[in-house]
C-alpha cells in the first residue's frame, strides 16, 4: 500500500507512537527476510467458480477423504488410524500440514507460526489425555486422577512479563501503579470469575468447559452471548483501565478481537473454562519451542501414508454412491471417489467447494467470519540487553502494554537455553479497523517488518542490531471470530450436521479457534464415519 512511513506506523501502532518513532531516523541496518507460507493466491481461484473435468484415468477410489490438514483433519486421521481404518486420504492445500499450528525448523530450536500452547486438559477430556499419553508428554496421574504432564513440557517460569513506561514487570496484569480502586475491581473480577467457575446448571454441567460442546445451554449463561465482553465489564461496574486492558489483551490474544468486539460469553469462557474449581490456578500450559507443531508432527508421522500435500481441492461433489473429490495436483486435475468425506476446511469455504451447497444451503457459511493476523519470526543473534539491572527478565510471553500487538514469545525459553541466539515470534491481530484482511495483503514484507521492529524497539533499542532475519506470515483467515450473537445463535447445531455424505470438522464449529475444539470435531467426524460403516 502506498503509505509513507509515518502513515504506516500510525495505522498499525497508533499516532502518538508513530510520531515519536518517525522523529528518529530508521537505522541503516535493516534485517533481511521474506513473506512466507499461506497460498492466498491459489485459494482465491476457488471463487472464480470454474468447472473441473477430470480425465478418466485420473480417478481413484478410497473409502474416505479428509479435506484439510489442520488440527481437525489431522485429528480425524489419527482417530481413523487408531481404529484400524486405513483406506483414506488427507488432502492439504499447503506444502505442509498443520494449519494454524504449523511451525518452522531451526537451530538451536524450532519456532511456531501461530498456535503455541495447549492448556493441560481435565481428566474428563479422555481422548485428548490419551493423545498426550501416546506422545509421552505425561507422567501418569495425580491422586485426584488428573493428568500429570512432564515438567519439561509445562511452561517454564518466568512465564510472562509486561512492558510499561520503560520497564518490564512480572505477570500480565499490570500491578505496578494500581490504585486502591483498581485492586478492588481486580479482586472483584476474580470473584466473579470464581462464581462462574463454580456454577452448575440443573443437569450438573459447567457454564464454561472444554470442549465447548459440554457447556451448559442454560439461558442464564448463554444470554451472555448477546452483549460484548466490554459491555459486560461496564454493566458489572468494572471501570478500571488496567482491568479493561487485561481483558482486552485476553480476547485479542485468544480470539483476535478487541473486548468490545468479543461476545461476553466467550470472554468469560477464556477466564473460566481452564480453571477446575475456585481457588485453584488455571490449568498450566503445555508448550515446546515449535509450539503446537509438536502435535502436527505426531499426527503427520502416524498418517504419513495417507497425507497428500499441495493438493488444492477444487470441488467436492455429493453423488449417489458417496462423494467425488476433485483436486488440483500441480497443474493436473485428479479425482477421488469415496464413500464419505470429512470437510476439515474453514466453514466459509464450503459454498465455493461443495457443489450444490449454495442451492440448498443447510447453514449460512458466510456467518463464519474470520479475522486476519500477521506473525513475524525474528531470528536474533543474541538476547536484547535489559535496560535496567532490576528489569524483570526475558520470559516466555512478553507483552507491550502500550502496543496493539500481542508482543512476542521466546522460542528457546522452554528448552532452558538462556544465552545466545534465539527466535522471537511476534503476533499482530488486525482487529483495530474494519477490513483488516484486505489491508494486510496490501502491505509488503518491508512495511510489516518495519511495523514489527519499530514496535519492539520501544522496549528493545538494540532490536535492529540483534535481528539477523525476519520472516513474516500473513494469515488472511486466521481464526473464527466469536463476536456477539454467533456461538449461541443456533448456527453451530446446523453446521455440525452432515451434508449428504460430507461431515464437517473444524474448530469453526465451536466458534472459537482452539486446539481442543479442532481435536474434538476431528474425532467426532471420524467417529461418524466409523459408525456409518458398522
Amino acid at each position: 500500500m502506498n503509505l509513507n512511513r509515518r502513515e504506516l506506523l500510525k495505522l498499525f501502532l497508533g499516532a502518538p507512537f508513530a510520531l515519536a518513532a518517525c522523529r528518529t531516523d530508521q537505522p541503516a541496518a535493516f534485517p533481511e527476510g521474506e513473506i512466507v507460507g499461506q497460498s492466498a493466491g491459489i485459494g482465491h481461484i476457488l471463487r472464480e467458480g470454474r468447472s473441473f473435468d477430470v480425465a478418466a484415468d485420473r480417478w481413484e477410489s478410497k473409502k474416505a477423504v479428509i479435506i484439510g490438514g489442520g488440527i481437525a483433519g489431522l485429528s480425524a486421521a489419527w482417530k481413523l488410524k487408531k481404529q484400524n481404518f486405513h483406506d483414506f486420504l488427507l488432502l492439504e492445500l499447503e506444502k505442509d500440514v498443520g494449519g494454524t499450528s504449523i511451525s518452522g525448523k531451526g537451530d538451536p530450536v524450532g519456532y511456531p507460526w501461530a498456535a503455541h500452547y495447549l492448556p493441560v486438559p481435565f481428566a474428563e477430556n479422555t481422548e485428548l489425555v490419551s493423545l498426550l499419553d501416546e506422545m509421552s508428554l505425561t507422567d501418569g496421574r495425580d491422586a485426584q486422577g488428573q493428568v500429570v504432564v512432564k515438567e519439561q513440557y509445562l511452561c517454564r517460569e518466568p512465564e510472562e512479563r509486561v512492558y510499561y513506561k520503560g520497564r518490564w514487570y512480572e505477570g500480565l496484569y499490570l500491578n505496578v501503579g494500581a490504585g486502591e480502586e483498581d485492586k478492588r475491581q481486580f479482586t472483584e473480577f476474580q470473584r466473579r470469575i470464581d462464581e462462574w467457575v463454580n456454577w452448575r446448571d440443573v443437569s450438573g454441567r459447567r457454564a464454561f468447559a472444554v470442549p465447548l460442546e459440554t457447556c451448559s445451554d442454560d439461558a442464564a449463561v448463554t444470554s451472555l452471548d448477546r452483549i460484548s465482553f466490554a459491555d459486560w465489564l461496564r454493566q458489572n461496574g468494572f471501570t478500571s483501565e488496567r482491568l479493561h486492558w487485561y481483558c482486552d489483551y485476553a480476547t485479542r490474544d485468544d480470539y483476535g478481537l478487541k473486548a468490545d468486539q468479543t461476545s461476553a460469553w466467550v470472554g468469560l469462557f477464556y477466564f473460566c473454562s481452564r480453571v477446575r474449581k475456585s481457588g485453584v490456578e488455571s490449568q498450566p500450559f503445555i508448550t515446546v519451542p515449535e509450539g503446537n507443531g509438536q502435535f502436527v508432527r505426531h499426527f503427520a508421522e502416524l498418517a504419513r501414508d495417507n497425507i497428500r500435500r499441495s493438493q488444492m481441492v477444487v470441488s467436492v461433489v455429493p453423488t449417489e454412491r458417496g462423494v467425488d473429490v476433485i483436486t488440483l495436483d500441480g497443474n493436473e486435475l485428479r479425482g477421488i471417489h469415496c464413500e464419505r468425506a470429512i470437510f476439515a476446511s474453514p466453514m466459509f469455504t464450503a459454498p465455493y467447494i461443495i457443489r450444490g451447497f449454495r442451492d440448498d444451503a443447510p447453514f449460512d457459511a458466510g456467518a463464519f467470519q474470520h479475522n486476519a493476523w500477521f506473525v513475524a519470526n525474528l531470528f536474533l543473534k543474541d538476547r536484547p540487553k535489559p535496560r535496567f539491572a532490576k528489569d524483570f527478565p526475558l520470559s516466555w510471553d512478553n507483552v507491550l502494554y502500550e502496543s496493539p500487538s500481542l508482543g512476542y514469545v521466546t522460542a528457546t525459553h522452554q528448552k532452558g537455553i538462556d544465552h545466545g541466539p534465539t527466535v522471537l515470534t511476534y503476533y499482530y491481530p488486525m482487529c483495530h479497523e474494519p477490513d483488516g484482511r484486505t489491508k494486510l495483503f496490501n502491505f509488503d514484507w518491508r512495511q510489516l517488518a518495519d511495523v514489527c521492529l519499530t514496535d519492539l524497539s520501544r522496549a528493545h533499542s538494540d532490536i535492529y542490531e540483534l535481528t539477523e532475519r525476519i520472516d513474516i506470515m500473513r494469515w488472511g483467515h486466521a481464526m473464527i471470530s466469536p463476536r456477539p450473537n454467533f456461538i449461541w445463535s443456533g448456527i453451530r447445531e446446523k453446521a455440525v450436521r452432515p451434508y449428504r455424505n460430507i461431515h464437517f470438522a473444524h474448530t469453526d464449529l465451536s466458534g472459537v479457534a482452539l486446539f481442543e475444539e479442532a481435536f474434538y470435531h476431528g474425532l467426532r467426524a471420524a467417529g461418524e464415519i466409523l459408525k456409518a460403516r458398522t
Binding site: 515438567e151 519439561q152 509445562l154 511452561c155 517454564r156 517460569e157 518466568p158 512465564e159 498450566p284 540487553k385 535496567f388 539491572a389 527478565p393 528448552k415 532452558g416 537455553i417 538462556d418 544465552h419
Partner: protein, 507 residues
C-alpha cells in the same frame, strides 16, 4: 579593583575542583576496570587534551564572557558533581561503561579548560598581563596541589568517591552563584535567572549528598573494598578479581565466589564427601560450574580419577586462571591437567542434549539461584537430567547456599533432590568469607553417612573430627517446620525463596 583578589580565590577553587574530578575518574576507572597504570594514564591524557580543546574553543566566545563563565561554572557543577554517582550507576547497569567514562572525562576537561582563559579575559582590563598570567597560573597550580594532597588523605577515606564528587560539584556551583554578585557590573543579561539556576543545581547536589548512602548502596558498596587486578565483562557476566590484605577474591556480577584466604575450606568440603561416599575407585568425574578450577584441584588429588568433564557456561571464566597468574597458582594449574576436558555450555542444555558415559562422581558448583536462568539448575528437571549421567552407586555433591541466611532455600533444594529420587545427606561447614555454608551429598540409592574423609589425601581443613561434624545441624539451620515447595521449572519456587531471604540483608 577589589574584585581581582576574590577572583583569584575563584581560580584556586576551580583548579582544585578540576583536578579532583580528574582524580575521581582515574580512581573509579582503576577500581572497576582494573590496571590502574593504564587507567590513570588514559584519564590524565584525555582530561588534559580536553582542557586544551576547551582553551582553544574559548576564542570563539566573543560576547557576554562573564555570563558564559558563570554558565560553564554551573555546567561543571552538574557534570563534575554528579560524575562519580553517574559512573557507578553506569557500571552497575551498562556494558559500555568505558564509553560513558571517557565521554564524561572529556566533557569535564573541556569545560574546565574553558574556565581559566575566560577568567583571564575578564580580568585583563583590570591588571597588567604580566601580573595576570603569573597570578592566575600560580593559583591554578596551588589549587592542583591542594587537590592532590586532600584527595587521598582526606576525601577518599573520609567521604568516599560519591560524596567527594558531590561536594566539589557544590563548590563549583557556589563559585558560579557567587560570580553573579562578583561580576555583577559585567553581567548584561537576566541575573535572576542565573541565580535561580545556580541555587537549583546547588539544591540538587545537596539532596544527592544527603541521599548518597542510597546511591552508593546501589552501586559502590556492592563493589569492592580491595584493589581490582582483573576485570572483564564476558558474554554472560562481569568477572572481577581483587587483591587485598587477606588474599585474592573473585566476584561474578559483584557476588563473591571465593577468597583465597579460606577457599580451601569451601572446596575441600565440596569435593571430598562425594569421594568418601563412593565405594571403590572413582574414575570418571563430572564438574558442573566450577570454572575457577579450585574444585578440580581437589579432585586431581585422587590418582584413581582418569577423566574429568568440566562444564562451565563462560569461556572467560575457564580462562581466568591463566589470565591471572595468582589464580593459576591457587588452583595448581588444575585446568591444564590432561585428565580435564573443558566444555563451555549451559549445564542444563548440555545435560539435555549431549550424550556422555555415566560418571562415578558429580560435583555441582553453580552460583546461588538469584535469577531464573540459575534457578533452572536447581529444579527436579535438572536433577532428573543429571540422573541420566549417573550410575546407580554414583555420588553427587551440590553447593546449596547458606542454610543460616537462606534456610528455606537450602531445604527447598534438599526436598527437590528427594522429589527427584535421590537419597540426600545435607551438610554444612563454616567458610569465614561466606559464613555458614551448605551442601547436599546425594546418591540414587540409600547410603550411610560417611564418617571420615578418604584416606591418604592431603587436606588443610578436613580431618576425622571436622568431617564427622559436617553432617550435624544446629537448631537454627535444621529443616524448618513449614511446608516448602519443590523447585520445578514451571514454578521456580527456589528463586522466590532465595530472593526473599537474601533481600533481608540488603540495605
Amino acid at each position: 579593583m577589589k574584585r581581582a583578589p576574590l577572583l583569584f580565590l575563584n581560580v584556586f577553587v576551580i583548579a582544585t575542583c578540576g583536578l579532583i574530578y580528574e582524580l575521581l575518574a582515574g580512581t573509579l576507572s582503576s577500581y572497576v576496570l582494573g590496571d590502574s597504570v593504564t587507567q590513570f594514564s588514559l584519564i590524565i591524557g584525555i582530561y588534559l587534551f580536553a582542557m586544551g580543546v576547551g582553551s582553544w574553543l574559548s576564542r570563539f566566545i566573543d560576547k557576554h564572557v562573564a555570563e558564559k563563565f558563570i554558565d560553564i561554572e554551573l555546567a561543571v557543577a552538574v557534570i563534575g558533581g554528579f560524575s562519580a554517582p553517574l559512573l557507578f550507576l553506569t557500571f552497575a547497569n551498562l556494558s559500555y561503561f568505558s564509553v560513558v567514562l571517557y565521554t564524561v572525562v572529556f566533557i569535564i576537561g573541556m569545560l574546565v579548560g574553558l574556565e581559566i582563559p575566560l577568567l583571564m579575559r575578564i580580568l585583563q582590563d583590570e591588571m597588567d598581563f604580566k601580573d595576570l598570567v603569573s597570578r592566575v597560573l600560580a593559583f591554578d597550580y596551588i589549587g592542583a596541589l591542594a587537590a592532590s594532597l586532600l584527595f587521598p588523605i582526606f576525601f577518599v577515606p573520609r567521604l568516599g568517591l560519591t560524596r567527594t564528587s558531590l561536594i566539589f560539584g557544590m563548590l563549583n556551583a557556589a563559585v558560579g552563584i557567587w560570580g553573579t554578585w562578583l561580576l555583577l557590573p559585567l553581567l548584561k543579561r537576566n541575573v535572576t535567572i542565573m541565580r535561580v539556576k545556580g541555587f537549583v543545581i546547588l539544591a540538587l547536589l545537596v539532596i544527592a549528598f544527603i541521599k548518597a548512602d542510597r546511591l552508593t548502596t546501589l552501586a559502590e558498596d556492592s563493589l569492592f573494598v580491595d584493589n581490582i587486578i582483573y576485570a572483564k565483562s564476558s558474554a554472560y557476566q562481569r568477572i572481577v578479581v581483587t587483591k587485598g590484605k587477606t588474599g585474592y577474591a573473585l566476584f561474578l556480577n559483584g557476588n563473591l565466589q571465593f577468597n583465597s584466604f579460606d577457599e580451601y575450606r569451601y572446596h575441600e568440603a565440596l569435593v571430598h564427601p562425594a569421594f568418601a561416599a563412593f565405594s571403590g575407585d572413582a574414575k570418571r568425574v563430572l564438574v558442573l560450574g566450577g570454572g575457577d578450577g579450585l574444585a578440580l584441584r581437589e579432585i586431581e588429588k585422587y590418582k584413581s580419577v582418569e577423566f574429568i568433564q568440566l562444564v562451565d557456561l563462560d569461556p572467560d571464566m575457564t580462562k581466568v586462571s591463566s589470565a591471572v597468574p595468582a589464580l593459576g597458582e591457587l588452583n595448581k594449574h588444575s585446568l591444564n591437567d590432561p585428565r580435564v576436558h573443558v566444555t563451555n555450555a549451559d549445564a542444563f542444555v548440555w545435560l539435555d542434549n549431549v550424550p556422555a558415559e555415566p560418571f562415578d562422581i558429580a560435583i555441582v558448583d553453580f552460583p546461588d539461584p538469584n535469577n531464573f536462568a540459575l534457578g533452572k539448575l536447581y529444579t527436579t528437571r535438572f536433577y532428573n537430567l543429571l540422573k541420566q549421567k549417573l550410575k546407580p552407586d554414583s555420588s553427587v555433591v551440590i553447593q546449596t547456599t547458606s542454610p543460616l541466611i537462606a534456610r528455606n532455600s537450602f531445604w527447598c533444594v534438599m526436598n527437590t533432590l528427594e522429589a527427584s529420587g535421590y537419597t540426600v545427606k545435607p551438610y554444612q561447614t563454616t567458610v569465614p568469607s561466606f559464613g555458614i555454608w551448605g551442601y547436599a551429598l546425594a546418591k540414587l540409592q540409600p547410603f550411610e553417612t560417611p564418617r571420615s574423609p578418604p584416606a591418604g589425601i592431603e587436606m588443610r581443613f578436613l580431618n576425622n573430627e571436622t568431617f564427622a561434624s559436617l553432617f550435624e545441624f544446629p537448631a537454627d539451620t535444621s529443616r524448618p517446620n513449614e511446608e516448602l515447595e519443590i523447585n520445578r521449572l514451571d514454578n521456580q519456587a527456589l528463586v522466590r525463596y532465595y530472593e526473599a531471604e537474601w533481600r533481608r540483608f540488603e540495605q
